[in-house]
């Protein structure tokens, strides 16, 4: 079977598994916001087709793109177009599935990417294991369903790194690296850290491959110098003018734009000249130049909201994330309300939420690269994988960085850890075969590897199958499952999508027109549940227990006051129903006594 067929097979398995399990996954707080934003984007694209001159005005663009402009538009554009085509025009999918379809598509691409990346160092079996293991982490499978950005940015990150590695050896891949980085920027702001993981390798490799050609070395570092110099110029301008004035005067004919355009043009020209001197040096630096030049261009072009106000709206977007709120978050029995956050939070949370049978191979694979680095046997590819496995984890581990959102903020690390897990499997299978083969004739390496892979995947599959639709609640073996995590005092859930677990009961038991307080669910979620036939349309959502006949409480330690307010309002401490996952309270339903 060809590599291409295997890659397509992995894509199809992932895509179908997401599509077929989609309807059980409730709508998270953020997802309903993105549904709404996506629908507005979709309307704008319809306007663009029917009345382009009107669509291109700042007024029309602002009307459609102002909502939720704290995130770039790529995914929301796709969500919206998919909704218009697959729900409204073709009627093939319910609204939520239509919005989510592009998310499935991009999440499904993660598997071939991991596979192809892994194949550089692993055999087919281990590479398939690495790819499939990404979706066997319950939280990752859950998030892969959502019309959100966390899995898409992880995919774009891997795509950019994949293209970069290919570009070191093949023609034209520098172009795909630049474009894929642009798509990553257009997916989510995590993308700004991709160059951090690649620049050291560019410099190191550039130094290595120009040993014999001093002129090429000068040009190579000259290219890097151009962009460093541009950065210094911006710093000087910011110091001289102040950041506010720098942004306010950043117009089409300003020095600020000219510096950027000159840097890109000069960098590109020098890179082209370098190609004639030293092909390897060209292939090393060209992806970086493409990222610097094409990345911002793709970012600008994909987001109509920037077309009339590129600088101030980009500045607002970046500033939003630099000054992001902190949300209360429960961790080992303590409520974290703000920085400094515990240094080991990310590692502990990863250990408690990734199935142990995948987490341990990840750790072993990681340790093995460190050992090889200590032995000076490590390859550049291994170090690139290591750097990308570490970057997001280290970034979120910083005590001043917001720590809400479970594990999703370091998803871009997980594909690289999956590759390292695959390497561990391959080494383990090889060693096991050497040990077993003399005793058992049937113990060939492919069979041993397959058996070991099944042993490692089976518990992860069971865990995923049991709780994937409530993915934000998932904890795995090292935590002691959900019960163990509850005893440890870990965050029970977030995003309020677990409401889906009590909807059948509500639909069956609510009185006509019953007033229900859906704690922690905003109006958009209720709208989407009713729109998708998951909640009866005759029940009405109210703002608190005092005006409700029924309260649906999302169990969070930081929100217990809401539950006790319900006790007060309803005159009882006794719920009538609830969603209890492995005995842990998730969603608790109270009803006013009559």
């Amino acid at each position: 079977m060809s590599e291409r067929r295997i890659a397509w097979g992995l894509f199809l398995v992932a895509f179908l598994s997401l599509l077929l399990t989609e309807k059980y996954v409730g709508f998270g707080r953020d997802e309903s916001v993105y549904f709404h934003a996506g629908e507005q984007h979709g309307r704008w694209f319809q306007l663009l087709l029917t009345s382009p001159s009107q669509a291109l005005t700042d007024e029309a663009i602002t009307r459609s793109f102002d909502f939720n402009h704290e995130h770039p538009a790529l995914m929301k554009n796709l969500f919206g177009m998919s909704f218009v085509v697959f729900h409204e025009k073709l009627g093939l999918l319910r609204p939520a599935a239509a919005f989510r379809l592009p998310a499935f598509f991009i999440a499904a691409w993660m598997l071939p990417l991991i596979y192809l990346l892994s194949r550089r160092v692993l055999g087919r079996g281990a590479a398939v294991f690495a790819a499939v293991s990404f979706l066997l982490v319950p939280r990752q499978f859950f998030h892969s369903h959502l019309a959100c950005f966390d899995v898409p940015i992880a995919t774009m990150w891997v795509l950019t790194v994949y293209c970069f590695i290919e570009a070191l050896e093949k023609n034209r891949w520098w172009l795909w690296t630049g474009l894929s980085f642009g798509l990553a920027l257009a997916a989510k702001h995590n993308a700004y850290f991709i160059p951090v993981t690649l620049v050291p390798f560019v410099l190191w490799r550039g130094w290595q491959v120009t040993k014999e050609t001093p002129e090429a070395r000068r040009w190579f570092f000259g290219i890097n110098g151009v962009f460093v110099f541009a950065g210094v110029l911006y710093a000087v301008m910011a110091a001289a003018m102040g950041p506010q004035k720098l942004l306010a005067t950043f117009t089409a004919q300003s020095p600020q734009l000219i510096v950027y355009l000159l840097a890109c043009a000069l960098g590109a020209w020098m890179t082209w000249r370098l190609k004639a001197m030293n092909e390897a040096a060209f292939r090393t630096v060209a992806p970086l130049v493409a990222m610097a030049s094409l990345g911002p261009l793709v970012f600008y072009l994909h987001w109509p909201y920037l077309w009339h106000h590129p600088v101030d709206r980009t500045a607002w977007y970046l500033n939003f994330h630099l000054t992001h709120n902190h949300y209360a978050w429960f961790y080992l029995g303590e409520l974290l309300r703000g920085p400094p956050f515990p240094l080991l939070y990310v590692i502990v949370k990863t250990a408690l939420t990734v199935p142990a049978s995948l987490f341990v191979p990840m750790v072993l694979g990681f340790a093995w690269v460190l050992v090889r680095a200590a032995q000076r046997k490590v390859t550049m590819f291994e170090l690139i994988v290591l750097a990308n496995a570490l970057t997001s984890i280290l970034l979120i581990s910083h005590p001043q960085v917001p720590h809400f959102g479970g594990t999703k903020h370091w998803f871009p690390s997980m594909p690289f850890l999956a590759l390292l897990a695959g390497a561990s499997l391959e080494r383990g299978a090889k060693a096991l075969t050497e040990w077993l083969a003399p005793k058992f004739k049937a113990a060939t390496e492919p069979r041993v590897l397959a058996t070991l892979a099944v042993l490692l995947c089976a518990p992860a599959f069971i865990a995923t199958a049991r709780v994937y639709e409530y993915g934000t609640s998932s904890y795995t073996e090292l935590a002691g499952g959900l019960p163990g995590a509850a005893s440890l005092g870990m965050q029970r859930q977030y995003w309020a999508n677990n409401l889906s677990g009590v909807l059948p009961w509500i639909n069956q038991n609510a009185r006509p027109g019953e007033r229900i307080y859906f704690h922690e669910n905003h109006g958009g979620q209720i709208r989407d549940l009713q729109r998708n036939g998951m909640l009866r349309t005759d029940v009405s959502a109210v703002g608190g227990p005092d005006s409700a006949d029924m309260v649906v409480y999302q169990y969070h330690q930081e929100f217990r006051e809401a539950e006790f307010n319900t006790w007060q309002a309803f005159g009882t401490t006794r719920p009538v129903y609830g969603l209890y996952l492995d005995e842990t309270p998730q969603v608790v339903v109270y009803r006013r006594q009559r």
Binding site: L122, G333, L335, R337, A356, S357, V360, P361, L364, W368, R372, A423, S424, L425, E426, R427, G428, A429, K430, A431, L432, E434, W435, L452, L455, L456, A458, P459, I462, A463, R466, E477, G480, G481, P483, G484, A486, S487, L488, Q557, E558, R560, E561, F564, N565, W567, Q568, T572, T573, R574, P575, V576, Y577, G578, Y580, D582, E583, T584, P585, V588
Partner: protein
């Protein structure tokens, strides 16, 4: 990636086999720890027939609150982070409803914390994965006065620094600040308490009660919910207790999430007890107060 040496490779293989086997066992075993509805119903039947006034149900682990659906109405259920150590001093008997087979159930740690002063009564009843054991509570103290329960007979008023009083009709004060018996959360634990609300400035909100019998007055006070965590735009509060003219003042610091406990001292039958709350800035200065006169001497 190049092959490791044989011993390391064999070790890695064994670790993978071990962790895979452990994880598979865990995932297959976990569902066997669940409690069936029928088992809850059987335990509830026992509670229904054997309950006595003043009984309480304590959950172990503390978060196994699915039991609330099944425990008979009117029988208090206690389960919050830290409830293992709750003295449950108002309750002479405690039913411990536990699920010891759950992962990290921590029953030995529970027993270490809980058992002091408690004596098992009869034998443990087992319903599938659900265990029910009755204890007599050696830490029980009879209640002479519970301020929240006695609110109907209390005087509620605002009092200026000059001693001038402004009565709060139906416990609703002139500035809209109310006093009421309500459920609130203080540092994740539920309390059915006296809700007091600082009026602001030097004015105090006062609840005045008369002790029906002598005993020892204990006061617990804390800011509900996230108000306790506020640091900006709020001030600390002074909670004062006056018994027959003797005043003790306690500070409730801003930014501290805690139910503060004060042992005020002895109270005689007919003693006048005044509970007073003051905070310069009234923003988010609601305080949940549990003021109890226990009979039977000091704890």
């Amino acid at each position: 990636m190049s092959a490791p040496n044989q011993r390391a490779g064999r070790g890695e293989a064994l670790v993978l086999v071990a962790v895979g086997s452990f994880a598979l066992f865990f995932q297959l075993w976990l569902p066997t720890t669940h409690v069936a509805d029928a088992d809850y119903a059987a335990a509830a039947q026992v509670l229904s027939t054997e309950r006595q006034p003043g009984d309480v149900v304590l959950l172990a682990p503390w978060w196994t609150e699915r039991a609330r659906i099944h425990v008979p109405e009117g029988l208090p259920v206690v389960g919050y982070q830290g409830s293992d150590a709750d003295s449950l001093e108002r309750h002479p008997r405690i039913w411990v409803l536990s699920e010891p087979r759950l992962p990290r159930a921590g029953m030995s740690a529970f027993a270490e914390t809980f058992n002091r002063g408690r004596t098992p009564v009869g034998s443990e009843r087992v319903f599938g994965n659900l265990h029910l054991q009755l204890y007599s509570n050696g830490r029980h103290r009879p209640v002479v006065l519970e301020a929240a329960d006695a609110l109907a007979n209390a005087q509620v008023y605002l009092e200026g620094p000059d001693g001038q009083r402004q009565p709060c009709a139906a416990n609703r004060c002139a500035n809209g600040k109310t006093v009421a018996r309500e459920w609130h959360e203080v540092h994740f634990a539920p309390y059915q308490c006296l809700r007091m609300d600082a009026p602001g400035g030097a004015v105090r909100q006062v609840v005045e009660l008369t002790a029906p019998a002598g005993g020892s007055l204990t006061v617990q006070a804390g800011y509900p919910w996230e108000w306790a965590a506020y640091k900006d735009g709020v001030t600390s509060s002074t909670f004062s207790v006056e018994v027959d003219g003797r005043v003790a003042a306690y500070e409730l610091p801003a930014g501290v999430e805690q139910m503060h406990r004060f042992e005020v001292g002895s109270v005689n039958a007919g003693s006048r007890v005044r509970l007073m709350l003051q905070s310069q800035n009234p923003n988010a200065r609601v305080v949940c107060v549990v003021a109890t006169v226990f009979g039977g001497g000091a704890p």
